[in-house]
């Protein structure tokens, strides 16, 4: 029982502490603008939750974050630090858009499945290359993933600006066939669409997969200790590849949701960093897929509210990006809660640096 309480404090108290500290630092940053932080935050909160429109828009903002957050959470659980979600999302989006525009005439449901399948495949393939380079040549995944993010975005933008340019004056494809639109959930004016339902179902599915199946057990074991899993006879390399592929496919799905549900075409540089924000979502949820639902909605609301705040005050929405970053640092830090609770301080392990050389 005591241990349970401790775990609960650790898994809920710590994120709450991180949220509190980062909002406090945010408040200090707001002061020089001349607006009172309390007023700014209340406008932010009202914008995000104050009306039906606000709530549904927040959920719409949360949808891509939930997808990328799940992609990140699943990978982190299995010990793979997939920071290439942004690129996988871009390739997912362009794949969904191209299949949505150029596939031959077919029944609607089949067409949707094909679009989503193409997006997942694209994300999967793009995620697996750096992993292969790591396994084959021991090239660190961190740099390759970041390079791959830039390459994917620029190449998708190129495709939408040159060979597959649509009728618009800027770099965007044609509108996808109306049959592949994901149905809207809160009226035509609000971006919330069926993708949100898919994301929730995916969260539940991943939770069951991770915590209730043999496969999930092996994935989690791989995350805790690679050497130990090898001892158990699980082929660590193969496992890593499967994890990366699933994670990449989920990121591709996020791209598909944006194209099929929101913009209905690929638009150049559409992502404001959904892939990177997914990392925050996953970390704040302590890589628990179900908790990701809450943290994604939290960040969706924060982003939505920030726009309202920018409209009604002189505070730029970029503040929220900085607040999220501070949140990540505080959630990643270990301030030795045990010590504070009076339990005998355990000898800390020497700090482990990721030393992977690219």
């Amino acid at each position: 029982m005591n241990r349970r309480v401790e775990t609960a404090i650790n898994s809920i108290g710590k994120p709450l502490f991180a949220i509190f500290v980062s909002l406090l630092i945010g408040a200090i940053l707001i002061i020089p603008t001349g607006t009172s932080p309390i007023e700014a935050y209340s406008i932010l909160f009202k914008g995000a939750f104050g009306s039906w429109q606000g709530i549904t828009t927040s959920l719409a903002y949360a949808t891509p974050l939930l997808f990328t957050g799940l992609g990140a959470a699943y990978a982190f659980r299995a010990g793979v630090f997939n920071i290439g979600l942004e690129g996988q999302l871009y390739f997912g989006a362009i794949a969904a858009a191209l299949v949505g525009v150029y596939a031959p005439e077919m029944p609607g449901i089949l067409h949707i499945i094909l679009c989503i399948g193409a997006a997942m495949l694209a994300g999967m393939l793009w995620s697996i290359l750096p992993a292969i380079l790591k396994i084959r040549y021991n090239i660190g995944v961190f740099i390759t993933y970041i390079m791959f993010n830039n390459i994917a975005q620029l190449f998708s933008d190129y495709l939408a600006t040159y060979p597959f340019k649509g009728e618009l004056s800027f770099g965007a494809t044609y509108k996808v066939s109306e049959k592949v639109f994901l149905p809207k959930l809160a009226g035509e004016m609000i971006d919330l669409n069926f993708g949100f339902v898919i994301a929730i179902l995916l969260a539940i599915f991943l939770y069951i997969l991770l915590f209730k199946t043999q496969f999930g057990y092996e994935s989690r074991a791989a995350g805790i200790n690679v050497g130990f899993t090898e001892y158990m006879g699980v082929d660590a390399v193969k496992k890593t590849l499967v994890v990366v592929m699933i994670s990449g496919a989920i990121a591709g799905l996020a791209g598909a949701e944006q194209v099929l549900g929101v913009s209905h075409r690929y638009i150049s540089s559409f992502s404001p960093g959904f892939g990177y924000m997914g990392i925050t979502v996953a970390l704040l949820a302590r890589t628990n897929p179900l908790a990701c639902i809450i943290t994604a909605i939290f960040f969706g609301a924060l982003n939505n509210g920030a726009i309202q705040m920018e409209i009604f005050t002189n505070i730029s929405r970029d503040l929220v990006t900085a607040i999220q970053a501070i949140m990540i640092i505080f959630i990643a830090a270990d301030f030795a809660w045990k010590k504070r609770k009076g339990i005998k301080k355990q000898e800390k392990k020497p700090s482990q640096s990721k030393e992977e050389v690219a």
Binding site: P32, F142, A325
Partner: protein, 302 residues
Amino acid sequence: MDMMTMVLETTLRLLPAILFASLGGLITQRIKLVNLGLEGFMLIGAFVAVAVSYYTGSAMIAVLVTVIFCGLMGFTFAVFHLKFKADNIVISVAINMFALGITKYFMNLLFGVRGAFSSPEIVGLPKLRLAFLDEIPILSAFSNLSVFVYLALFLVVVTHVVLYRTKIGLRIRATGPNPMAVETAGVGVYRLKCWVLTVSGMLCGLGGAYLSLGQLTMFTDNMTNGRGFVAMAASNFGNAAPIGTFWGTALFSFSDAVTMRAQLYGFPPQLIQMLPYVVTVLTLVVMAMVKERKMKRGINHG
């Protein structure tokens, strides 16, 4: 100027920003720590430099403040990583995100603009005018470069000397492979690592300041645009040795310079902007293949 001289001059102009940061990456790599936050440090450095230069009208003060500021950020990184045990990659991701948000926020707050800030009141870094080189082919590329180009090259030598010829360099080099031995020798590894990360931040600050006050005299959103990561790749290219790292940055700056020229001939900009990243990945792959072949040969001969 002929084509070759122009490409050389562009390469030299692009070099310092990446070179400073890659020296920062190199020293953290020596203590076995991947610091992907180089990008964020640089971006914040670039912003601080422009802001201070604008308000004080002095590039000297701007550089000084930037170096101190980025050093403090490096120190913060060290504290969170070493003391509070936060994962270094997670901190790096957070720092880069923070830099992106905070620079935009303060640009809007201080100057009331979005996207880019430029003003005649921003004082750039001085240039070293070598008029006698004007008429000499190829060498004329050196005739009007920022002093920071020379400072960057000088710091490569300094880093080399410090790493291989001084006691502190020996300690840094030993900390990576064998921290215990260093600790046993009575050196505080914790403090040493803190210093390395602080200096790494300072070097990135120099890189950022050069970017916004030397290469250009303005600040734009995300103006580092991946240079911090390229710097990290360059340090890997050189196996964390200063001279090798220099060649890595030279290669990347050269490919950047070539693509900038290519842009003038009407190639799709996205494909051209993609090239430096592709070159980086390909270089890493080729390097790994060469290393592997060398190792195999070593085994065969041994």
